[in-house]
Structures are given as structure tokens and as C-alpha cells.
Symmetry: none
DNA sequence: TAGTGCATTTTGTGCAAATGAAAAGCACAA
DNA sequence: TTGTGCTTTTCATTTGCACAAAATGCACTA
């Protein structure tokens, strides 16, 4: 059976971004819920969970079948075919060409290979993609404040790409919002929300302690995001929760485009700090939790000015 | 000479948005610099000032010529033909159909005539515009946090501020964010930013004191928004500023249904409170300003649970 | 020397058809 | 009932082209 460069089955029809995304989330869900081999996988159930129709879910499951993670029952339907604890979603799923391009453009700009002012027509042949793709990317950059439209023709990159300014401001904002979340009068530690977060942290911590490096940097980013979003969600204030989620979304791509990796020790420390904060929250000691959280964020910001951070 | 419904010369070729925008800015520049009738108007000079090429500037000047504001020299070139102090740019320049549609959609949503979840295909026939236009509008709403893409198909409008909970949460969020803005270490009272805000408040206040009612409810909304956004902008933290702006957008969505009127006395009080806060900020007494602001927001929230508020 | 008017080139937008993907419906099986 | 497998329908993205608008160059003049 022939495989292409990314290790995917070449025979599979091209998967849509939504399908790939769903496949990843389904995989994570299976892993975090600890399903046993042989468990039935229900399409309508997953479709409800993720708020989409059955079509893309079916296609996503097909991807997983192609990877040998799922298999058909003898009669019909699908079941879990093997243990997924050791599987890293990033390794087996195709990566989006759009995200690759995003990183590439960002790198090119920071290396000075792209001028400050660019036109769409200039970028099209350079990256060998259609105008639509370029537009989409530029709009995304613009939403993140990394680029802005010039009147008339062209776009201009911001002075500092991932500049220290933006970093400082981002951390300041997060301290404000997340601490306010803990202090909110409606704050309630929701075990159903926080338990999976705790499990994910414990899993990561044990991975580190076994001396293995993390499967992917992206994994830590996700767990980190789930921690902060989970806390904010407990605040009972949708706007605080939204603000935290928004920050995470904004930073996701920039982080993954970053060059420096977070050293293992720092990662371990972050993980422990998160667990400590979770402990304080679950014990109802929100003031102590707030102090820990503030300290955690401050350290993180000092640690990594223009680098990835917890 | 025939004129269309907006009072424009019908004969003129359709002007592009950039041209209209330039015409307005040129007009404001002429007015604010107090040019005398007969002053020469230089195209390359204006082009440099606004960072565009000469083409759109020429076209913008054509618009002004058509309005009798500029006239050709006998030989060549253009000159100012009349005093512009009394001219309101809004009155003479064509208005963008996109802007009108933006308001219309917002109003329809706030009145419940649009469902929370919409598809592009559903909006196209409803507003009788092409997909491109719908798309552009939805992207704009999305950038303002009023709408978000659903996975798969469709878009979803943000939870509106209906209901006690949402209101309370919104005020809690604003207190957190705006007070943090005042406390930000990078906070600098920028006169260039705050002076127009102050002037607008004084204008409104004097209008009230003369016993006249406000020109439009929308006017107070805009001034109010500019106050809060202006303060946040002084924080030097773009995320704080964005968060405030987003809240205002949400509120605007709510109020574009626009039936509730703020009683005159409450409006006057809000106005005075704003001015007091501005005074404290300009005097560098940010702590006092913060106390005032917190009080102001708290009162506003108590005053108007499900109604318009400052 | 800077500005104008016009011509040319470059760049971006709008539209419609074609393609691809998701939603919705239905018969049937466990 | 709930889930599956398939089909049909609806919806959205892509693509290519025609057109509109902005940028640029040049000859000419005050």
C-alpha cells in the first residue's frame, strides 16, 4: 500500500479541514475517556457532541479506520481497534497546508525575506497559491493585529511581529481576566469541568517524569489552554470565559510558529503549578488559588518574552 | 442638472469607497486648517499626506468640484471655491450601501427577525445582495465578536445581552477590564485622544441644559462608547482596549432595536460622571478616577437591568 | 522644481459556473 | 428506539474571467 510523504494513506480521498479536526478531537476524546478496545463508536453521538452533522463525522472515522485505530464490526458499525494512549494525533493526521503557509510566511517576514509592505499579487507567485488563499491568510494576520490593510493597494506588516509589547500586554490582560474569574462572586469549581483537565495534566507530568519528551509541543499548548479556559469557565461569567478563550486562539498559531521549544524543566514546573492551582480551587481556597495563578502567569511572562509560554 | 435621492450629482461616475473616504478627509483637513478661498489644492501633496497614489485623490477632488467646493483655476489646477466651515461632510457625500446593510442586519437580529443561527444562502435572497456582500458583512460582525462561524455550515450570532444574567456578567466584566485599564502600568492620559471625547460630552451636556432633547439616541450611545473606549485606549494595552470595544459592540447590537430611552436626568448624571472621571484622569489621579469609574459602572448596572445604560 | 493631465501598467474586486463538502432524509437492521 | 448506510438536497468554497480602481510613468507647463 503506497504512502505519501506525510505517512498518510495515499489512496484516501483528500480530507477536508473539518474532517481532520474532528478526527483529532475524536481521538483525544477516546483517549481522555479511556475507552476500552472493542467499544462501539457511535456516529450520531459524536455528531451531537461536536455540533455537526453525521457526514463529516463519518469521514473523520474513515480516516481513523485507515490508520488502523478503528475497525468495522463483523456485522456493521465501528469499534475501537487498539489502545490509543500512546498515539499522538499530530503524527498520523494530515497537516493543513494553510497552517503550514501561515508559519512559513511568518518566518519569512521575521527573517526579513518579506518586505514590510506586500501586495497580494506579489505573494501569489511567491508561495504558489491562489489569491483566495493569500487573502484568507492576510485576513487572519490582520485579525491578530500582525498586519494591516493600506488604503488603496497592499498590506503592511506590523513593526514588531511577535514583539515584546504584544507579549507583555497579553500577559497583563490574562492576569487581569483570569484573576477576576477566580474572584467572581459566581465562581463555582465544577468537578465535571476540571477533572478531565487534572487528568490531562497528570498524564503529561508522568510522561515527563518517565524521561520521555512530549509527543508534540502542540499537545502541551492544548492542555495549557484547557486549564486556563476551564478555570475561566468556572467563573460563571461568559465574558471572562470568552476573553480567555479568545486569547488562547490568538496565541495558538503564533506559538506554533515560534522557534524556541519550552525546556522540559519549565514545562514540568508549569504543570505542577497548574495542579497546585487546581488543588486550591477544588478545596475552595480561591484566594490562595488566585495568588498562585498570578504568580504563575507572571513567571511565565518573565520566562518567555518572545518565546512559547505556559 | 439632475440629482439623485441622496442629493448627489447623478451624472458623476460611481465613486469608490476610498474616493469617498478621501473626499471626506480632505474636506475635514481643509476645514480644520482654515484654508482661505482661492487657496491652491495640490494633488501630490494630498496623496503624500494620506499615503495613497494620485489617482484616488484626483477622483476625490472631482467629487468636491461637483459639489462646488473646489473649482478649476482659469489656467489649470484646482482651488478652494468657498468657505467650508459650515459644511457637514455627511450631508454631501454618498453613503455606503454596505454600511446601511450593516445596520439593517443588526437591527433585524436584535428584533428577533433573524434567528440566532443563519446561513449565507439564507441571507442572500433576504437582503437581495450577492454572496460576496453577505460574506464581507459577516466577517465584519465576526471581527467585532458579534457573530461566529459554526463548524460545518452557518454562522451564529453572539448571545445577546437579554436576561438578567447576561447584564450582570457584562457589567462585572466591564468593571474588571476598565478598572484594570486605569491601573495599567503603561497608562498615559493622551490629550489628543481624550480632548475630543471631553468636547463631545460638553456639547451633549449643554444641549440637555438648554432643555432640548438629544438629536438622536444613537448620539449618546456613540459618545458613551467613545468615552469608555478612549479610556481603555489610554491603557496602552490593545487587549484591554479590544475587550471594551467588543462589549460596546454587543451593547450596540442590543440597542439597535432602540426603543428604550434613557431618561434625561440619568443621562445628565452619566455625562457629569464621565466628565469627572476625565478630569481625574487628566490630573493624573488615576486611583480616584478608578474609584469613580467603578462607582459609575455599578450605578449604571443597578439603574438599568434590561434597558439602555451608560 | 513641483504640479498637471493623460496614458500605461499593476493590482484588486465582483460575478458566475463548477466543484466539493455538509446537512437532511429515508429504508432497514440490530 | 437507536444506529447504519446510502441518497438527495442544500450550502459553501474555488476558480477563471471581465472589469474597476489604484499606482506609476512621461511629456509638458507654470
Amino acid at each position: 500500500m503506497s504512502r505519501d510523504t506525510t505517512g498518510q494513506l495515499a489512496s484516501a480521498a483528500a480530507a477536508s479541514p473539518l474532517q481532520i479536526d474532528l478526527a483529532r478531537r475524536i481521538l483525544e476524546r477516546i483517549r481522555d475517556s479511556g475507552w476500552a478496545v472493542g467499544t462501539r463508536v457511535s456516529v450520531p453521538d459524536l455528531a451531537r457532541t461536536f455540533g455537526v452533522s453525521r457526514s463529516p463525522v463519518s469521514a473523520a472515522l474513515e480516516l481513523l479506520v485507515a490508520q488502523g485505530i478503528l475497525a468495522g464490526f463483523e456485522t456493521r458499525g465501528l469499534q475501537l481497534a487498539r489502545d490509543v494512549a500512546e498515539i499522538d494525533p499530530e503524527d498520523i493526521l494530515p497537516s493543513s497546508p494553510l497552517e503550514d503557509l501561515y508559519r512559513r510566511m511568518m518566518r519569512d517576514r521575521s527573517l526579513g525575506e518579506l518586505p514590510q509592505d506586500v501586495s497580494e499579487a506579489e505573494l501569489m507567485p511567491r508561495y504558489e497559491v491562489s489569491r483566495g488563499v493569500i487573502r484568507k491568510l492576510l485576513l487572519r494576520f490582520a485579525a491578530e493585529g500582525l498586519v494591516q490593510r493600506l488604503p488603496g493597494h497592499g498590506w503592511r506588516f506590523a513593526e514588531s511581529l511577535v514583539g515584546e509589547d504584544a507579549y507583555r500586554e497579553s500577559y497583563e490582560f490574562r492576569i487581569v481576566v483570569e484573576c477576576a474569574a477566580l474572584r467572581s462572586p459566581m465562581f463555582r469549581a465544577d468537578p465535571q469541568l476540571l477533572a478531565p483537565v487534572r487528568r490531562a495534566h497528570e498524564r503529561i507530568l508522568s510522561t515527563i517524569l518517565e524521561g520521555k519528551s512530549l509527543a508534540s509541543g502542540d499537545e502541551w499548548f492544548r492542555v495549557n489552554a484547557s486549564f486556563h479556559e476551564g478555570l475561566a469557565a468556572c467563573s460563571g461569567n461568559r465574558f471572562l470565559a470568552d476573553a480567555v478563550r479568545q486569547q488562547n486562539n490568538l496565541r495558538r498559531l503564533q506559538e506554533s510558529a515560534g522557534f524556541e521549544q519550552l525546556p522540559g524543566e519549565r514545562l514540568e514546573q508549569s504543570c505542577r503549578e497548574h495542579l497546585a492551582i487546581l488543588g486550591a480551587v477544588e478545596a475552595g481556597e480561591t484566594e490562595w488559588a488566585e495568588a498562585l495563578l498570578r504568580q504563575h502567569l507572571r513567571q511565565a511572562s518573565e520566562f518567555a518574552s518572545p518565546a512559547r509560554a505556559p
